[in-house]
């Protein structure tokens, strides 16, 4: 506040200048008005004044009125005017202070509205408080209901709080904070003794942060020097605390909501991920959906696909030698080997049926055959590992057929199942069974072969025609030996011309020629059990005669 001065009253620019002048004229007064330093502000110099009156307001000398008898009247008038001016200034200054506070709180609210982070809000509050209230240190602490600990979320200056100590002396601080009060602590010996504040701290001012009578924490300011905090400081701090409490509360709620939303999203993602393992994404995609949650009972789609079946040979015998646990872990490690091969070749596993795998290849049949070959090669690798543990090698048979298949959602409204309904599945399964009969590792149907655009990339042998149980039309079947060992592969390639001759004679009922051709194969490759199968059959027909309706078609009575 600018100092009160006589110039305010009798200066030429002042409003009361004219009034004072008119008084002086009317009274024909011969006086001078001087400031406290004797400088004449009005009238003539009075060398030997009869009267001289000091002009003082609030015990402060502001000047003199010197001269004749009128000096008293003029002195009284000037004093009165000065008192009025002083009151006006004081009032103005108080209003300005209040206005500054309003402006500050206005700006503070604006800053708060722009942030949604609890620590940032606490820091803004602290900065704002320290801007107005003189202090050396400050902290904002929050009470965490879950951990039942106090936590410093904003600080400034030397950390007068020992973060570890605050929780060691919870009861002391809590008694202070949870009282929900705001106060100036003059005697801080308790806090010092507890090691909560540094020794140089001399005075502490705090205000609780609370929302709806729930205490969240406190904002605490401290001064190192002999700071005397005032009621106005406390009032201001309380106002800031009140504002920031609800902002911090909202920010914490927001944080909690975001966290919960993320957790829900993560849970959904995991459920989704697991669901995909039960129902392949390709299955859902084939139905025209992206999410499993979209599927409904009765959804279905028909496609031409290749169905692949694989089965472990003599698994029953194998499993009899294992405990149920060993059995289970064996199947799991086996499937871990096979699953990726199917996916890499653009297929998906529709079902694991114990030791059997049913996979669907929606693209080209060549994908399925490539997968089958790689599965057979993988088995060789799998067996090498088993050998290290003195375990017997295993063999798998793979059969496949290409044809229409309906994929759909069956069940009832409470229990859904992703199902395939197709005769193609049955045929593929039966062709897989035939691998045991023909001693072949992979058998594919004619329909599958027809869909493969470059059959030359695979090593194939015709195995004749079969009449599958329950089927009207016989089917040509082929062995693929690309997945055999290098040795077997070479032998089968060498003997392929004899084998082909053997099969064509066999199908034409020229059994004697068939016998000699298959004998050639076996002479070169005694391990060719398929050739041996045909040799035995041909020899049998030669010796015992052929059924009347023999058309070169094997009647498959088993499944």
């Amino acid at each position: 506040m600018a100092r009160l001065s006589l110039k305010n009253i009798i200066g030429k620019k002042s409003a009361s200048f004219a009034l004072v002048q008119s008084f002086l004229e009317q009274l024909k007064a011969d006086i001078s008005i001087e400031d406290e330093n004797g400088k004449i502000l009005s009238g003539n110099e009075q060398l030997d004044p009869v009267h001289q009156y000091p002009i003082a307001v609030d015990n402060e000398l502001l000047g003199w009125v010197k001269g004749d008898d009128n000096a008293f009247i003029i002195g009284s008038l000037v004093t009165l005017l000065l008192q009025k001016e002083g009151e006006k200034k004081k009032l103005g200054s108080e209003v300005l202070n209040l206005y500054q506070e309003v402006n500050l709180i206005f700006n503070f609210s604006e800053k708060l509205a722009q942030t949604i982070e609890p620590a940032a809000i606490a820091q803004i509050t602290l900065d704002e408080a320290e801007h107005i209230i003189k202090s050396d240190n400050g902290v904002v602490i929050l009470w965490d209901e879950y951990s039942r600990q106090l936590q410093v979320i904003a600080k400034s200056g030397e950390l007068f709080f020992n973060e570890e100590n605050i929780n060691n002396n919870l009861s002391l601080l809590l008694r202070m904070i949870l009282g929900g009060q705001s106060e100036i602590i003059d005697d801080i010996s308790l806090l010092k003794d507890a090691g909560i504040v540094l020794p140089q701290v001399q005075s502490v001012l705090y205000s609780a942060l609370k929302v709806n009578h729930r205490i969240m924490g406190a904002i605490i300011l401290a001064g190192n020097g002999p700071v005397q905090y005032t009621a106005a400081d406390l009032k201001f701090l309380t106002t800031l605390a009140l504002q920031s409490s609800s902002a911090i509360e909202s920010a914490l709620l927001y944080e909690k909501n975001i966290k919960e939303a993320n957790e829900r999203e993560e849970a959904m993602r995991r459920i989704h991920e697991v669901t995909r393992k039960f129902v392949p994404y390709e299955f859902i995609q084939s139905l025209g959906y992206d999410l499993i949650t979209d599927i409904k009972l009765g959804d279905q789609v028909e496609k031409i696909v290749t169905v692949l079946f694989s089965d472990i040979r003599n698994y029953t015998t194998l499993s009899e030698r294992m405990t149920p646990e060993e059995n289970f872990s064996f199947i799991c490690s086996f499937n871990e080997y096979m699953g990726p091969i199917i996916r890499l070749n653009k297929g998906f596993i529709n079902q694991y049926l114990g030791d059997a795998i049913m996979a669907i290849f929606p693209g080209n049949a060549a994908d399925a055959l490539a997968a089958a070959v790689q599965m057979q090669i993988a088995i060789q690798d799998f067996n090498k590992q088993r050998e290290l543990f003195n375990q017997a090698p295993i063999q798998i048979g793979v059969g496949m057929h290409t044809g229409p298949l309906i994929m759909g959602i069956t069940g009832d409204h409470e229990r859904l199942d992703a199902t395939t309904i197709s005769d193609t599945v049955n045929t593929a399964s039966r062709l897989e069974s035939l691998t045991k009969y023909y001693k072949a590792s992979i058998i594919i149907s004619e329909e599958t072969l027809q869909q493969i655009s470059a059959p030359d990339t695979f090593h194939l042998r015709l195995l004749g025609r079969v009449q599958l149980k329950g089927k009207y039309a016989p089917t040509s079947i082929h062995e693929c030996f690309s997945g055999n060992t290098e040795f077997e592969l070479q032998k089968k390639l060498e003997t392929l011309p004899y084998f082909t001759t053997g099969i064509s004679n066999y199908l034409n009922s020229s059994f004697d020629r068939a016998v000699s051709a298959f004998q050639e194969v076996l002479d070169a490759n005694p391990e060719d059990l398929t050739a041996k199968f045909f040799l035995n059959n041909a020899t049998g027909y030669l010796n015992n005669g052929v059924p009347l309706n023999w058309m070169g078609v094997e009647q498959m009575q088993s499944k």
Partner: protein, 127 residues
């Protein structure tokens, strides 16, 4: 030439606040004039030619925008630095302020310190 500041606002307490804020300048010889409406403001600007005018926008009898337009565009008193004052939340778009030739605009509640600094800057008075 004497330094003169004109404070124009229809609300007495705002006039008082601005004057109180700039009080220290009085000791440095600055003369204050006050007006409570646009018409009065225009008269004082013409007769006293203050270097700096704090001009409220929303006022009876000619609003601040119109006062500013007349001073800058019609009277072409380009040596008058005009600060338009608007209430927060009623900010005019800056374009409109520029069109009528205002030199600056501030929002109420104003920051007393900012007002004092601006006055010192315009009147070329050391702080």
């Amino acid at each position: 030439m004497e330094n003169k500041i004109l404070i124009v606002d229809d609300e007495a307490h705002i006039r008082m606040l601005i004057e109180q804020t700039l009080e220290d300048l009085e000791d440095e010889g600055v003369i204050f004039f006050k007006a409570e409406n646009g018409e009065e403001a225009l008269e004082i600007i013409q007769s006293e030619k203050p270097q700096l005018v704090f001009l409220d926008v929303m006022m009876p009898k000619m609003n601040g925008m119109e006062v500013c337009r007349r001073v800058k565009k019609e009277l072409e008193l380009n040596n008058v630095f005009i600060v338009l004052l608007t209430a927060k939340g009623q900010e005019l778009d800056r374009q409109k302020g520029l069109e009528v030739g205002a030199d600056l605009y501030m929002t109420k509640p104003f920051d007393p310190e900012a007002i004092l600094n601006k006055a010192r800057e315009v009147l070329n008075l050391p702080g």
